[in-house]
Amino acid sequence: MKKDKKQYWKGVEQLTNHPEFVKFASREFPQELPIEDGKLKEDGGSTRRDFLKLMGFSLAAASLAACEAPVRKAIPYLNKPEEIDPGIPNYYASTYTNGGNYASIVVKTREGRPIKIEPNKLSNVTGSGTSVQVEASVLSLYDKARLTGPYINGSAVEWKELDSQVKTKLESIVSGGGQIRIVSKTILSPSTKAAIDKFIERYPGTDLVMYDPISAYGMVKANERSFGRAVIPTYHFDRANIVVSFGADFLGTWINPIRYSADFIKNRKLENGKKTMSRLYQFEANLSLTGANADYRAPIKPSAEGLAVTTLYNLLASKAGKPALATSPVKADHLDKAANDLWANRGRSLVVSGSNDPNVQVVVNAINDLLQNIGSTIDLKSPVYFRQGDDEKMRQFVSDLGAGKIQGVIFMNCNPVYDYYQGEKIKAALEKINLKVSLCEREDETATSTDYVAATHHYLESWGDANPSEGEYSLQQPAISPLFNTRQAEVSLLTWAGNNNVDYYEFVKNYWKEHFFSTQNKESDFTRFFDKCLFDGVYSLNPMAVTMEMITFGGDVNAAASSISKTYSANSNAVELALYETIALGDGTHANNPWLQETPDPITKACWDNYLTISQTMANELGVELIESDTYLLDLKVGDKTYTLPAIVQPGQARGTVGLAVGYGRTKAGRVGNNIGVNAFPLISKKNGLPLMNVTDGVTVTMTNKPAKVAQTQTHHTFMNREFVVQETTLDTYKNHPEHAFHRPAIAVSTGLEKKLGDQKIDGRVPPREITLWKGHSYDNHHWAMTIDMNACIGCAACTVACQAENNVPVVGKKEVINRREMAWIRIDRYYSSEKGATSNKELEKAAENPEVTFQPMMCQHCNNAPCETVCPVAATTHSTEGLNQMAYNRCIGTRYCANNCPYKVRRFNWFKYHDNSKFADNTSMNNDLGKMVLNPDVTVRSRGVMEKCSFCVQRIQYGKLEAKKKGRRPIDGEITPACASACPTDAITFGDIKDPESKVVSVLQLKDRGDKQEIHEHRAYHVLEEINVRPNIWYLAKVRNKEENA
């Protein structure tokens, strides 16, 4: 038992027990809300009568309609492709790229349609899992807003016409000695670069300009200044015992979060009796996903960030006996402690910064050099290529464009008018340009400013390859033939370069033959080599070199420090703006994807909007109160630009700062993504000439007093203040007394029972599982179970979108989310915790200043004593002999008793028919012919009036069992994985059959099956709400923070 009782709260309204919160918490469904627009009946009785009338009519109509059975056609293939068998999925290894965002993937196709993205476990780079954006990318393939063919000045043309016009113009520019630029985001593909080289060869005067909407060029510059290598190194978070991060959200959005989070968690998992884990310090302004997972987090203002880094340097330099830097020290919590920890773990620590200011990065490099991390946790010899944007070159391009020095521009899979901070300048300058071409998937902000639009394929229709990091290659193969009359960007470039009938597959193949075939000696036949690479999806040039040569730091840290002291200040009083990327929308490229729009942000739990995150202190000053989605609009003034945005009171937000996400405010994304929020890219500041995400001067925030609503899911589906939903402890407690580190609920019993139960007794009480009304279930065959390691869950939400894709979960839209009717089967509960509760605003400020955060994925717990099953009047939800709590949709009559009786609040009711309903047009996967191609044909699309919930991906279980039966054996552990577990980049979710002694769940739980009783020996394992003895099949492994007691 704990001495101090922590307070857990999902939002400030819960912490203060606001009457609005209490009102909603005690009510499962907000009944008074209108179901139909403007049809709210004052008399509840008439609605019911209407319902009965309608029901009577529809019954009659249905039986009449049924008299004449509709003729259903069955149309087989004319010539069935050999590899396609209707009903059997095919899997193709491929590569996801969006600029520098990368994932090696396996695409699941059914009848030739890609329907789901899975991680490619063979990849050394992202083999562990996927991310929200990767999972959702399959829906973008079936987007009606995609271009269906080439356009010239807004009218559809033939490719021939476009090619000849573009070629003629290119010729005339080149013959006149003019300049042509190809603008692109980071290109990871070596063959694409080869194609561009061919183009440049044909049209001299052409140059490639790469940029990244969220740039890391400052880091590249700093590494050049420090080590003579203009690269981004490979970071080994798994080798670091102490990680200190200054604003780098490496678990969420920074450079390569899938790999970083997997590595980071590797050293945080406490499996098989391991009692050590790394410690993370985070210094930042906005509460990021990384900050939420930090053991020690200190909110600092962006203006102090540079000085915080130099202060840390000085602290370490004094330990190393080196001269200190001449900068003013900054006061930040935990900085001394971080320095001590770092010094004690020299060579086993890592300091990173998300800043794009090269001076800050040089000091960070100097710190890592002081700590002997270069060559151990930082590998400069195997750089990564995720951010190749050159801010200086891009700035030069914009000024050249404005000055009329450039005659031709080709935008390749990028949208700088929207996502480059000088987008407006580019747009204005484009008007004077002779040849402007857009190679793009959709008619975006940039495409509408160009004359020639050469529509490109979606990545799932394209051939290609990628080189994400040194020595690691992967291939991209199409999983579907092109849906529209589009053409891959590279083919367009090669065609314009004078090649006819370009077969890009051959081009990629030849490139691999030329460059990679000779690097191996396993395969002597090229076709076999290429097929193997294609099958695997990845090719590693050489296994990571074991010996790492020392690279010495040669940067001028003093010069960097003096620039820092000029641009940063230790105690600025101005309001500062910290821009950030959200996990779901990223740079906004896929803003038209409703799955991404409806993914609640892991921290704010808001979706379908961007908003200003403000601290509780600022909220008190401005008079903002955020209660159950109701908030106020604020005016944000930056320089000469004014935006009006709703406010979200964000615990952990540094005082005097506001946060705003980029990626919103699209105007040409498509019907889903248009006009949601504002575009924050133009606010990026230009200190030191490089774009910085922090705006430290000229920011004012004023209250408008206009009410607004944000679609926040955080307080929906609450647990009614029940205790011990979240269990956590500190590493020291866990190490010393693992058996007493956690709460074990017990129930008082009469002496008679006490005697009988013997050694089970705890102070005259027994564990709740000893007393039950029910007979229980016997499982002869399988018994499916899951463990969720809260030490490994970082809250990235990849599981939520994976589940949405796998189980045909509808998107309900902003309005219905505000009405508390989101449909997600798996949600990630985000709890704040603070030492004390709060009743006054002052106390609230303190509690919300820098709370601890815990993430807890929550879905149907598949209880063995399920409360939902006993209350269903029609037995629509029952228990299976394999431990599943099954839901038969066609049996459900919609009483919603089950949801009322569910202690975990995981059941979702279909308030509407979300499919084939024009009112839910944003639910594109169910409301248009194209979008429907993404639906999983093995899962029913639910209709109005039925309940639904997590099924443990029963379709995957059944499929896995059948595959095993076909082979005449039992399923092997790992063959059957639900979508959430498969997507999880940190392996937080383990699924398996606890009747199989070889399964990983058994070993994680250290489960001993004693015939009639199962004993769990893992101390961290617990059931949420164990005291009510519903006996879930999901165990949570309690969170352990690497924090000192009383710290």
Partner: protein, 424 residues
Amino acid sequence: MSAKSKSRRHLPAIVFIFLQFLSTSLFAQDAGSATPAQGEELNAEMVAAGETLFNNNCKVCHAVHSKVLGPPLANVYERRPIEWIKSFVRNSQQVIESGDEYAVNLFNEYNKTMMTPFDFSDEEILSIIEYIKSETLKGPPVEEKVTVAATETTVQEQGISSGLLITFLVLLLIILVLILVVLFVLVSVLTKYLKLKAELSAEDKEIVYQELEFGKFIKSPGFVWVATFILTAFIFKAVIDGLYNVGIQQGYAPTQPIAFSHKVHAGDFKIDCNYCHTGVRKSRNANLPSVNICMNCHVSINKVTGATEPSVEIQKIYDANENNMPIEWVRVHNLPDLAYFNHAQHFEVGGITCQTCHGPVEEMDVLRQQENLTMGWCIDCHRKTEIRTDNGYYDKLVKIHAEKSDKPMVVEDIGGLECSKCHY
């Protein structure tokens, strides 16, 4: 079943059992097809392997004893050398082009139809030959008729049991009518006797001289009530039956775009169902054959058996092929979207025959839906059907079941009635 009814139909039962014996003994011969009496040792394993291969690949065009598309294969191992067979199976075109006289003659004899090449290993070809050998030794099939007879008897036997019930009911009715008649006679005799006696009280007279007034009876509340009740009950029953039949298409036999006959293909030519419905072993869908599968055979068959003119219906396949338009068949067996059915689970794992659900397809000229395909029908079968226990997946379950019960393990016992086996 009572002992009485058993004894009543002992004759057909004995016939049935006798036939059963006959057929099982024949099956036994099938299984251990090595017949040492013939003086030649056959490898049973190879024969079994060969049989599977033959059924899956060769059966469509060849039979052992009769001519189908290709020549009968009986004694082929004596007619041709093994090496020749091997090369012909692998690439008949090559053999024909090489000018092999036998091959050329064969090619001409069979309407210049090229045999599909099969990429079999030596071992596989040898096992097929082994199978052909065993079939050749057995001689042309005669047992089929006996088996059919046995099945027919089974049908009859089922007919008897329901017929018995009807007879019993009719007898009961006759007895009841007889009793009624006797009672009526008794009453009238007694009334007559009473009438002869003069000294009856007024009350008694009323009863004795009572006349049955039909109109009054009709209007009596008792009769009205009973009649209304019976009428309502009938209407109610009719409505319920009607509603239960909503969406049921039992007997549905739509006209198809091509007058394809399963009787000809599956019945007369004994083409394995699998040959066209390729998904049945591996997928949830059995799959309708794509045109290229039809063309495997119809590239050389353009007439109906016995006809002189090319068939109009077969021409439709050629048209589809030429116009690049798939054939739009009308779906006969429609399950609602909310039910998940998997052919592989039933056919490959469960060993259920196609006919169990689809009826005697091989006898249907126009395919019709034989069963009602309702959930009750599914459940009924899951309650009765025993698990095929030769699958390693079920080993543990069989053991556990044997400890609990001495009845055979049926689908129900391992959760075959649970919702999420079919609904998700």
